[in-house]
Symmetry: C2
Subunit: 227 residues, 2 copies
DNA sequence: TGACTTCATTTTGAATTCATAATTCAATTT
DNA sequence: AAATTGAATTATGAATTCAAAATGAAGTCA
């Protein structure tokens, strides 16, 4: 067992890692809104820490693209722009496609069974019109595929990008028609996964994401038109 | 003009950004060797800065995977393992393939002409047996394609991964046969680019990278066998 | 010899302090 | 009234300080 593993499994993480995670959550769930100024002192008071670990955390979040730093001017929550989403979505597509391909190489019958179970729950939430529960199940499926791909680096990169996208509260904009379409796509995802058809799964996942992007873009265009 | 742009064009970057870049270079070029312990005090003395900005820089590098942090134990230059390369290369392939596809959508005749020029220089270096010069030209071509893809997020992610891979001094292991093969692949890359055949280019780039990976893996297996 | 303790030293984590740059706002000028 | 200047305030960048944990060496005992 190497040093890093033995340490991380025993002691708790350092303060700045904790802060990175909590700040990321606050940004993703919108508590810290896009474009908002985030003064260090205020954040430090909120979390009861000094400026040193907070500043370390802000540097990491800036490297991840969730925070913008202006020298001597402080930190802002990064804005979500159409341009940014147009950059990020194709990359997400490439990564998710890859995760599908790799998942097909490694996935066990048990893992497929687990995903099928989530899939059925998702169908139930769809039929009940439970949007948030549907969304959670949906996300869980993509996470499970990512998990099956068995590539920690891919997982980290995917999640970093996903965080930037999830801040867009596009759900409200999803039409019933699009929702039904997404369900159909998910049926195909499950079938490709069960047949372990890597390339086909990759294609479906990319298409699925592209359609999602169209929904998000529409939301964002409307949003920007308002302000 | 937004705040970040107006600031960055006037004032110099903050210390920790400077440190991130310089440390990254030292790690990539092997001055700081993989697996090496890097005590903060020593680094601070080398760069003439205090521990605060240095620690900020180490946090960012750790997030990028070039440095490993063990709580209360300090920082190490991350080791390059076969496992890590097996994770990273397929991701590089997906990103480079995407960059090829996107480049074909946007690239101008001038940009293609520029790449063709570098390509010919590279051929000359190949014929002269100038490995390092060949490698620089090679890298410049991939960078130019990435540039033509016109996606800053993709560029950043690609470069972050590339930094992790380039530390492997695999060049020494490249056979003349493999070298000739790589040249042939580059001919195909140029042709696909000129024909703006996105999918074909993506495929060639992925294949090209996969072959490179095989070379690197062989180097690393030999390396690990030594120690 | 070799494993275990103890304690001084070193290193790191985080808080505090100090210097400097940016911001605010009242006073002044046009 | 609007724009400009400049002092006071505030926030940030970086160095220093302090506390806690890890390291390493000497000593102890089996």
């Amino acid at each position: 067992m190497n040093i890093e593993q033995s340490i991380s499994s025993i002691s708790r993480q350092s303060l700045h890692v904790e802060l990175v995670e909590r700040l990321r959550d606050l940004i993703v769930d919108g508590t810290l809104a896009a474009g908002e100024k985030i003064p260090e002192r205020e954040l430090c008071e909120r979390f009861g820490v000094s400026r040193t670990p907070m500043r370390e955390a802000l540097k990491v979040l800036a490297a991840d693209g969730l925070v913008s730093l202006a020298p001597n001017r402080g930190a802002w929550v990064s804005k979500i722009t159409v341009t940014e989403l147009e950059e990020v979505f194709p990359i997400m597509g490439a990564l998710e496609g890859l995760s599908g391909e790799m998942a097909c190489l490694h996935i066990s019958d048990q893992q497929i069974a687990d995903i099928r179970k989530i899939h059925h729950e998702m169908v139930a939430h769809f039929k009940a019109g439970e949007l948030n529960e549907y969304f959670s199940a949906n996300q869980a499926i993509h996470e499970a595929i990512l998990e099956a791909a068995n590539n920690p680096t891919l997982r980290t990169m995917y999640r970093t990008l996903a965080a930037r996208i999830r801040r867009a509260r596009y759900l409200a904009n999803m039409t019933d028609e699009r929702w039904a379409e997404a369900m159909d796509e998910h049926e195909q995802i499950l079938q490709a996964l069960e047949g372990r058809e890597g390339e086909k799964l990759a294609m479906i996942l990319r298409e699925h994401l592209k359609n999602k992007f169209d929904t998000v873009r529409q939301w964002l265009v409307d949003e920007e038109a308002e302000s």
